[in-house]
Structures are given as structure tokens and as C-alpha cells.
């Protein structure tokens, strides 16, 4: 079957797709977007988290056909648009590097998308910076084997604070 949908703002089409293929597979192997990771293929680790029509899902459990006509946003689409080589990192991406929240990096893309979603749902909707419990709950479905999560929490807080400051002050964070 043929599947067409939007990825990071661009219309894409994949041909000869088996209906049983996952969205994750289509992204990684057919569309050349390996940023979303395959670590468990069962929705148990969150490494494959992407936005699907504005909500985050495990793309390993989305049948390719279900993506037809919908909008997908992956870790590759988080940075500001522009020339690929010169893109500025998003506040979430910047905070993860800065806080030391990245080690092997395999869980990182999923965490970034889920964090982006948390900040969008809190600070982005005019709310406050999420507290630690809120952060841990929102990221409960993203397993990490390296970092011990502490620096990830710091990074989320940092990104949320900067986004809030930018929102409130108008200037660059």
C-alpha cells in the first residue's frame, strides 16, 4: 500500500508499505529519519516517541496505515527550521546538552519529544514550570539505562524555565 503523511512539515509518501509495518519502521528505514529509536518495539521504553497530530505516541505501535493523512513530528523536527547544518537547537535540546542529560543518547530523542510536549502543555499554555512530580510522571514512559534520570529532570526544568522566561520577557532565553 501507499502511505502519505506529513513529517516535520513536509509531505512524504512511502510506497509498497506492508500494512503491518510500524510508523517507526517507515520513518527509520524508508524515509531516512533514524532519529526516533527502536529499543523495545513494544511501547515499553519510549525511545520511539513522536508527535502524531500533536500528541505524543510510541511510533513502534502505530501501524503505518494509521499515519495516512496525519502530521508527524520527530526529534529531527525539534530544532528551528533553516539550513540543516546551521539550525539552532531548541531550548529543550540545548538544556539536555547543557545539563548533562545525555549519555549514550539512545533514549534521548524520545525524551526530547516527550519533554517538548510537557513544556508545550504547561508553560506553552500559559502555565507555570512543572514541578518534579509532574516531570517524572510525564516522562514515566521513557526508560533510560545510563543517566539515572537526575540530570534529565534538571534539563527539563531548565528548558521549562527558559521557555517561561522567554514567554514572559519576550527576549531570547
Amino acid at each position: 500500500m501507499r502511505v502519505s503523511f506529513e513529517v516535520n512539515g513536509h509531505e512524504v509518501t512511502a510506497d509498497n508499505v506492508w500494512p503491518g509495518e510500524s510508523l517507526l519502521y517507515v520513518l527509520r528505514e524508508r524515509l531516512g529519519l533514524p532519529g526516533s529509536k527502536n529499543a523495545c518495539e513494544q511501547g515499553e521504553c519510549g525511545s520511539c516517541t513522536v508527535y502524531l497530530d500533536g500528541v505524543t505516541v510510541c511510533s513502534c505501535l502505530v501501524a503505518a496505515g494509521q499515519a495516512q493523512g496525519r502530521a508527524v513530528r520527530t526529534v529531527e523536527g525539534l530544532a528551528e527550521s533553516g539550513d540543516l547544518a546551521e539550525r539552532r537547537l531548541s531550548p529543550v535540546q540545548e538544556a539536555f546538552v547543557e545539563a548533562g542529560a545525555v549519555q549514550c543518547g539512545f533514549c534521548t530523542p524520545g525524551l526530547l519529544v516527550q519533554t517538548d510536549d510537557l513544556i508545550e502543555r504547561t508553560v506553552g499554555q500559559g502555565g507555570g514550570v512543572p514541578d518534579e512530580a509532574e516531570i517524572r510522571e510525564h516522562l514515566a514512559g521513557n526508560l533510560c539505562r545510563c543517566t539515572g534520570y537526575e540530570k534529565i529532570i534538571d534539563a527539563v526544568r531548565l528548558a521549562a524555565e527558559r521557555t517561561a522566561a522567554q514567554r514572559d520577557g519576550g527576549g531570547p532565553a
Binding site: 506492508w18 549514550c104 539512545f106 514515566a140 539505562r145 543517566t147
Partner: protein, 691 residues
């Protein structure tokens, strides 16, 4: 030995520098093994044995071959013959024998992974099944003493136990655990006239190259292994396992075409090793004030019948405490199972569980504070060898940890604190890990286009090698980090030892220091464009003279729910003495990550073998629990300044593993303090506390 870096003003080492590979990883552009974009790949899915022991009589592959997109079915009938290199685990598809359930007995190559997977399901395998035995127990009559670990006896432990006023004699157990790096073991193999190229998730590109060259009878120069980024390993990506061999065998049937293999999470439980379960009888003999007169550990571990591996859990007892009488033994049970392998702090991690819980039991028996008990048993020299320590700051870690944790006000009586229905307690345990060094690394430094290009085939499995080696090179050359261009993760670079045993940074770093010195000696401080020098890792004669170890102290607060027995760890604090810290940001991550894996070990991790099927049945991340975000609350790692002039030119000790050592014991000890219930087996699940 000291002061190899003295002539350079140290600016980068010790600096809190962000990860060099950070931007690539947060934008999804860091390339892991399976993600190299190659033309027209084929996909491989293994066929795994569904019997535990026996031989394959026949494959019926007709239905599998009829699946659209299937290219070929690989079995021992059409696989290339490999050289016998004395590693039965790597003799993939060399015979029809089945030695453990889940063993690779074939594979399907197809145009898509789904076609390959479906075809594998359609392969019918007829076996000649033999009886099997996978039951791990210390009561087995066929246990044997492995050659690499003869019984180690000093004095007379039995006599000490018989005459001591206070004794502890208990058996402690740790379960089978799986490394489970987030990135599944993955390979892309390309077989061309020029040779074999492997894009591999590995802890050492050169060891993959040499082993694969040997297996396939190729000149090592004809094998290239590429691994710029690796999604964790924790030991399982150290030694080679069958999947990479399988991928190369398949690629050989399809010359010129990339063959891609990524294990599923379930396959990770069958094919890439695990930490052996251990049964530890620990004996402590002591004076009433807690001073040890005897210490002993008798370890039973398991191995595969067809390949020996020993979890050396007795090792830390050689190092930790002073006592005139000492006995350390290891026994192995050879079972019809897949071979165990290294998992973060092999030996030390399980081997500091039993003894450190036993020390807590001794503290209770003597009425001595558990921090003070450890201080009282501090040895002057390494107990088993008599060698002086190059540096040993366990006591400083215990004192600093006690201060930071607020230990001084602790009421030693168990079951005294209840808050909102939760029983609360605190506990402590010590950590240790040897400071090793692996031979065989070479580094090259070349000056070109205004930059110093430093090349070494090291691996960054998330530890921070990209970053800390850049820092070390900068200081060794006396230039800013921005002047250094590092290349690692490719076997076409100068040879590097494995990322394992917490030896990566010190082995590669010392090699880079030597290469930088050679470069400056030959080319001075104003080198011409194209100037180059290389050097190997120098010998360190101090390694013979001194015992070299890192130490640490771990403090835990534990809550146990009075009704349900649920266990939570609201606070974990570790203080480590591990020589010079090259980068505080990446180091803290290593310590905290190790402690979290220790927490995970304490509360969750348990690979459940069903003896009837001979394999792990909870083989996915839904059933095999690793610590999730909510399991961690307040977790801190600190370190003390430690100057060690003997370990290596950097004054650094490896830090990748010590964080996991002792954590589980600290948590179990805290749970005892909370509840009065002494748990001697892991994981410490809620039913231990139900009444």
C-alpha cells in the same frame, strides 16, 4: 610517574565541559550501528532453537522460502566454515548441535525485516531432543572449581569462626540480570571483494576486527569495524556474541549487499550474555567491638556447559577489610544455558552485596555503628596481597558521606520511624572497584589546517569518551580543546583496547598523553602542517608495586509501606574516591547512572528462568523491570579530591562501574533499619515485608 602533565598548564582536565557528541545526539543525527545509510540493504532475522538441548535433525524451509521478499535461509548446511578459535559461543552455525534454548540455529535474509520475521515463523525445525538441566543451586553435587580461581586461604577461618565471640554466617543470593543497554545489539555487515565491513554496536572496534578476522580467516586489514556512537553496553557489547558472526555469515551469501541485523528486545535475553546468578555464603568472625578476626565468602555461580565464564564475586573480599583469617572460594555450576558475560562491575557488583549486608548484620550484632565498624576494619595494606594501596580513601568517603547524609543523628534501633503509613530507615555500604589498565592502545597526533587531529580507535558507549579524550589531548598538547579534532570508533584508526573494566579513559587517555609527548618532542610547539607522531601505551611499573582501587560509600534512605510492603528509595547519596575527575559533568552522570542501576538491582532486576523451558520468560522491558523515572527521587553523587601519583599519568581511576557497587547492600540495610526484616536475596520485592 607523577607529573607527566606537570609541564602543561592543566586547563581542560577537570573542566565542566559539555558533551562533544551532545548536539548530534539531541538532533537525532548521531549515527548508531543500524543507521548508516547504505544502498539496498537486506534484513536478517535469526531462527532460534526452541529446545534446550539436542540437535537439529531437519529444517523444512519450503513455506519460509515462499514468503515474498525472502532472499535466502541460512543454516549450518550452507553457512561458511569458520576457524575454531576456542570460543564455542562464536562457532555460529558450525554444527547441528543445540546447547541452549534460544541459540541461533539459522536465519532468514529478506528484503524487509517483516518478511524475514514472518519467514522465520514458517521454518519448521525437527529436533532430536535430549534431556536438559538448568537448575542453579549451591546444593548441586557437580559443582567444580574453575581454573582461574583456586581457593584462596589465609590463616584458619573455621578456627576463627569457632572461637570468635561474635559471628555472622548467612547465605545471600543475587539473581540473573541482563545488561539491557537501550540500543539493542545491531550490525550492518557488508561483504565485498576488498573484505568485510561491519557497522557494529560494540565496546571495542579493534577486538571485533581481530576476532572476526580470525574466525573468517581474513587478514585483519581486510576487516573494518565502524562504531562512532554506541547506545550503551554495560559489558554485553564487550566480548563478541553470535549476532555479529551471524550477520557476517549472511553477508557472505549476498556479496556487495549490506545485511542489517538488530536484535529484538526478546532476543537480547538469549544471545548476548547476562550476569550470572550468585549464591554467597558469607562468614564474619569478630571481637565484641566489631574488629574482624576472620572473613570468608564462598561463591557459587553458573556457567554454560559449552563455554566457561566465572562471575568472580569473591574478588572484593581480597581488598576490603583487615582480618588475619580469610577464605575465598568460587564454584561453578555448568548448565544447559547461554553463557554469562560481563555486566557492569562483574565480580564486584554481586560480590559486594553479601559481604556488605553481612557487615551490617555484624554492626547490629556488636551494637557498633555501621560506618564506625567499617572504619575499625580498615586495613593498612591490601589484605590478600600485602601490597600497599596506591591510594585508599574509603574512610574519607564514609565520613564525608555520613556528614552530607546527616547520619550522625541516626537511632540504630530498627522500626522506629513511621511517616504517613511508611516505615523509614537508613543504611550504608561500601563500594570498591579495581583501577585497571588494558594494554595495546596506540594513538596518533597530526597537525593539519591549524588543528591537532588525535586518532585512536576508542569507543564511546555513552561514557563520554568523545569529550574526555578531547580534554586530555588538549592538556597533553597544551592547547585549547577547540584546537583538538578527535576521531574514535573506527578500526582504521590506531588500535585501542576495549571500553571495559573501567579502563577506557585511563588506558586511552594515557596513550594520548604519550602520543602528545612524542609529538612535542619531535615537532616542538610550532609544528609544520602535516607533522605527525604516534605512541603506544607506556608500561607502568607501579602496577606491580601497588594495589590500585577506587573506593566509595553509599548511603540510602528507604521507605517500606506498612500495609503493602512496597519499597521506595527517596534518597541515595554516594561519595567516591576515584583519583582525578577529568570532567565533572560526565563523571557525575557515570556515578549517578551506576547508582541508579544499583537501585534497579536492589528493587527490580530479575531474569526469571523457567527450568522447563530453559530460558528467561520475562524477556521484555514490560516484565523485566529496570528503574524508571519515578523510582529515583533524590540521588546525589559526590567525590573527594584524591591525588594518586601511581595509577597513571592522569592520576585518574576508572569510574564507569564503581557507582553500582554497594548500592543494593545499602538499600537492603536501610530496609532492615526501617522494618527489622533482614532480606538476604535480591531483588527485594514487596512480599518480603508483607504480614
Amino acid at each position: 610517574m607523577s607529573g607527566l602533565l606537570e609541564n602543561t598548564s592543566t586547563r581542560a582536565i577537570g573542566a565542566d565541559i559539555g558533551r562533544v557528541d551532545g548536539p548530534a545526539k539531541v538532533t537525532g543525527t548521531a549515527t548508531y550501528a543500524f543507521e548508516h545509510q547504505l544502498n539496498a540493504p537486506a534484513y536478517l532475522h535469526p531462527i532460534q532453537a526452541t529446545v534446550v538441548r539436542g540437535r537439529v535433525r531437519e529444517f523444512d524451509t519450503r513455506d519460509a522460502e515462499a514468503v515474498p521478499g525472502v532472499l535466502t535461509v541460512l543454516t549450518h548446511d550452507n553457512a561458511a566454515r569458520l576457524a575454531d578459535i576456542g570460543d564455542a559461543e562464536l562457532a555460529v552455525l558450525q554444527s547441528d548441535e543445540v546447547a541452549h534454548r534460544g541459540q541461533v540455529i539459522g536465519a532468514v535474509l529478506a528484503e524487509t525485516p517483516e518478511a524475514a520475521r514472518q519467514a522465520v515463523r514458517l521454518v519448521r525445525v525437527h529436533y532430536e531432543e535430549r534431556s536438559h538441566d538448568v537448575r542453579f543451586s549451591a546444593a548441586r553435587t557437580d559443582l567444580y572449581t574453575p581454573g582461574e580461581a583456586e581457593d584462596d586461604e589465609q590463616g584458619d577461618l573455621a578456627g576463627a569462626m569457632a572461637s570468635a565471640p561474635v559471628t555472622v554466617d548467612h547465605t545471600y543470593t543475587t539473581p540473573m540480570e541482563h545488561n539491557n543497554p537501550m540500543e539493542p545489539h545491531s550490525t550492518i555487515a557488508v561483504w565485498e571483494d576488498a573484505g568485510l565491513t561491519l557497522y557494529e554496536s560494540t565496546q571495542g572496534v579493534h577486538s571485533v576486527r581481530s576476532t572476526m578476522a580470525e574466525l573468517f580467516g581474513l587478514d585483519p586489514e581486510r576487516v573494518r569495524v565502524i562504531a562512532p556512537h554506541v547506545g550503551g553496553g554495560f559489558g554485553s557489547k564487550g566480548p563478541l556474541h553470535p549476532p555479529v558472526v551471524l550477520a557476517a555469515l549472511a553477508a557472505r551469501l549476498l556479496p556487495g549487499r549490506p545485511v542489517k541485523l538488530a536484535l529484538t528486545r526478546q532476543q537480547m535475553f538469549d544471545l548476548v550474555g547476562y550476569r550470572s546468578p550468585t549464591i554467597q555464603r558469607v562468614r564474619l568472625a569478630a571481637e565484641p567491638d566489631g574488629r574482624l578476626t576472620g572473613i570468608g565468602i564462598d561463591v557459587t555461580a553458573q556457567t554454560a556447559r559449552f563455554k566457561e565464564f566465572l562471575e568472580q564475586a569473591g574478588k572484593p573480599t581480597e581488598v576490603m577489610y583487615a582480618a588475619p583469617n580469610r577464605r575465598i572460594t568460587h564454584r561453578l555450576a555448568a548448565l544447559d544455558v547461554a553463557p554469562p558475560t560481563w555486566m557492569r562491575a562483574p565480580g564486584e557488583c554481586p560480590g559486594m552485596f553479601g559481604p556488605e549486608v553481612a557487615m551490617d548484620e555484624l554492626a547490629v550484632a556488636c551494637g557498633v555503628d555501621p560506618v564506625e565498624l567499617r572504619v575499625r576494619n580498615e586495613p593498612g595494606t591490601e589484605p590478600a596481597s600485602g601490597r600497599p594501596f596506591s591510594s585508599r580513601n574509603l574512610v574519607a568517603c564514609l565520613r564525608e558521606g555520613a556528614r552530607r547524609f546527616g547520619w550522625q543523628d541516626r537511632d540504630p534501633e530498627p522500626r522506629r520511624r513511621m511517616e504517613d503509613g511508611w516505615l523509614v530507615g537508613t543504611g550504608v555500604a561500601a563500594s570498591t572497584y579495581p583501577t585497571g589498565q588494558m594494554p595495546g592502545s596506540v594513538a596518533a597526533v597530526r597537525f593539519e589546517d591549524g588543528h591537532y587531529h588525535v586518532r585512536i580507535g576508542a569507543a564511546d558507549i555513552g561514557t563520554g569518551a568523545w569529550t574526555v579524550l578531547t580534554q586530555i589531548a588538549a592538556d597533553a598538547l597544551g592547547v585549547p580543546v577547540t584546537a583538538v579534532r578527535l576521531r574514535i570508533g573506527d578500526s582504521s584508526l590506531p588500535s585501542a583496547s576495549l571500553a571495559g573494566g573501567s579502563t577506557g579513559t585511563v588506558s586511552w587517555g594515557s596513550t594520548i598523553v604519550a602520543a602528545a609527548q612524542a609529538f612535542r618532542e619531535r615537532h616542538g610547539t610550532a609544528p609544520a602542517d602535516g607533522a605527525e607522531a604516534r605512541a603506544g601505551l607506556p608500561d607502568n611499573p607501579n602496577r606491580e608495586r601497588y594495589a590500585m582501587h577506587a573506593f566509595g560509600a553509599q548511603f540510602a534512605e528507604v521507605r517500606v509501606h506498612a500495609d503493602t510492603g512496597e519499597v521506595r528509595v527517596p534518597r541515595l547519596l554516594g561519595v567516591f574516591a576515584a583519583g582525578r575527575i577529568v570532567n565533572p559533568r560526565t563523571a557525575r552522570s557515570q556515578f549517578i547512572g551506576g547508582m541508579t542501576m544499583g537501585l534497579s538491582m536492589a528493587l527490580h532486576e530479575d531474569s526469571v528462568v523457567d527450568p522447563r523451558f530453559g530460558c528467561v520468560v520475562n524477556h521484555d522491558l514490560a516484565e523485566y523491570h529496570i528503574a524508571a523515572n519515578a523510582d529515583v527521587v533524590d540521588l546525589q553523587a559526590h567525590w573527594i579530591d584524591e591525588a594518586d601519583p601511581y595509577v597513571n599519568p592522569l592520576g585518574a581511576k576508572g569510574i564507569g562501574e564503581i557507582g553500582i557497587v554497594g548500592t543494593a547492600a545499602a538499600i537492603v540495610n536501610a530496609a532492615y533499619h526501617a522494618t527489622g526484616v533482614r532480606v538476604r536475596e535480591l531483588p527485594m520485592t514487596l512480599e518480603h515485608f508483607l504480614a
